[in-house]
């Protein structure tokens, strides 16, 4: 057992947790933020992507203890009240999801991708989302959504 202090979506949380607790389990079970999904649990699918100190991370492949002191942003932390983040809105507008299971991870990866490079080619978007697997869409509308959001996020 160890005490960890995390700053999740702008709020400081302090909990005693088991040393082997995964960050994704801390987010979902301890904090009840179930927008972050567990898809494969083997570091492949990216449904669990969150931002740790501003970079995208698969939260199923990091211990909560490793994140002690970090700023965490989950899918719940990117909208402003009822107003969706531009990336969320773009996924909605472009039909970038079907079942929606991969969407939180896709959105979190895509936000980091666009924040680091706003001038992305289609190929760069596809490469940038390599760590996120979607079984429904064939990725076409996801790429369109990221292209659309990139234009709006930088204008």
């Amino acid at each position: 057992m160890a005490q960890v202090t995390l700053h999740v979506n702008g709020q400081t949380t302090v909990h005693d947790i088991a040393d082997n607790m995964l960050l994704v389990d801390y987010i979902r079970e301890t904090l009840g933020l179930t927008g972050t999904h567990i898809g494969c649990d083997t570091s492949q699918c990216g449904a669990c992507v969150v931002h740790v100190n501003g970079v995208s991370v698969k939260s199923c492949t990091m211990l909560a203890a490793q994140a002690d002191g970090a700023e965490i942003t989950t899918i719940e932390g990117i909208s402003t009240g009822d107003e969706l983040h531009l990336m969320q809105q773009a996924f909605h507008d472009q039909h970038g999801l079907q079942c929606g299971y991969c969407t939180p991870g896709m959105v979190m990866s895509a936000i980091e991708l666009v924040e680091k490079n706003s001038d992305l080619s289609e190929e760069e978007i596809r490469e940038g989302l390599e760590g996120n697997i979607c079984r429904c869409t064939g990725y076409h509308n996801i790429v369109k959504a990221v292209q659309s959001a990139a234009t709006k996020m930088t204008s």
Partner: protein
């Protein structure tokens, strides 16, 4: 994952003490291999020693060498202006490892200490004749990789830095597994300042990364892709698994080496 203990020492001495005191301690660097391994219960360490607070990240130039801290993540190497200008082969290699999230967490030191037979970094370290600085000594690349998932590191030895000499030219090309991005065959070809050529191959050998004397001799005489065709690649000692047979890997070594030479 089995229960384990997690500690995060604040200096190298404390980390080594923690390793020595544990029955079966494991160093936790980026965790991109170790944590999935723990989740599959393939490793049962009684203590995880997180070395992220030891100040081992950072990239600098010293004399004619590029020195990369062991805890530098792949994304740091990929985007480092210094690496891009002084040793671009390494920046490109780092940018091809795994996916963005893996590159944000996985470290060069972790990759080398693990010595996965299909990892990318060992090929570059061997072909570039880098040396590995540990908590107690400097190990030449030729002495470091001792077998599949085996290295010259002692149980309580921690990699702190990797020293890369600058080379005349070098290229790394991999034939990646389409799902995992691990190398089914990855070849790093480097021409050093003294004119010598080193060729290191990852993803193929049963004993992990290795240099190929035949390819090195051929390319030493003629650094053209046509020289590669004249070299017979023996498939004994190459891996055969669900991804590729030894015979196919031998074929890939020829093809990927030619591509690497063309990319010089």
């Amino acid at each position: 994952m089995y229960a384990t203990r997690y500690v995060k020492p604040e200096n190298l001495d404390a980390a080594i003490s923690a390793l020595q005191e544990a029955d079966e301690g494991k160093i936790l660097a980026g965790g991109m291999t170790l944590i999935p391994t723990l989740k599959q219960r393939l490793a049962v360490p009684d203590c995880l020693i997180d070395i992220s607070a030891l100040g081992l990240s950072g990239i600098r130039q010293q004399d004619d060498r590029l020195i990369i801290g062991a805890m530098s993540c792949h994304a740091d190497v990929e985007h480092s202006d210094l690496v891009v200008s002084e040793l671009p082969v390494l920046a490109r290699l780092a940018g091809g490892i795994g996916d963005r999230q893996v590159r944000n967490r996985g470290t060069i030191g972790g990759s080398l200490a693990n010595n996965d037979p299909a990892a990318c970094y060992p090929a570059a370290v061997l072909a570039l004749a880098a040396s590995i600085q540990t908590s107690i000594r400097l190990i030449e690349a030729d002495d470091f990789f001792t077998g599949m998932f085996e290295t010259a590191l002692a149980e309580d030895e921690i990699i702190t830095e990797i020293h890369f000499p600058k080379v005349a030219k070098a290229a790394y090309v991999k034939f990646g597994n389409p799902a995992s991005r691990y190398a089914m065959v990855g070849v790093c070809v480097a021409q050093h300042g003294d004119g010598s050529v080193r060729v290191a191959i990852t993803g193929a050998g049963q004993d992990g990364v290795f240099r190929h004397a035949g390819l090195e001799d051929a390319l030493q005489n003629n650094l053209e892709s046509s020289a590669v065709d004249k070299v017979d690649i023996d498939d004994s000692g190459l891996m055969s698994d669900i991804h590729a047979s030894a015979d196919y890997r031998a074929h890939l070594i020829t093809e990927i080496t030619k591509r690497a030479v063309c990319a010089l």
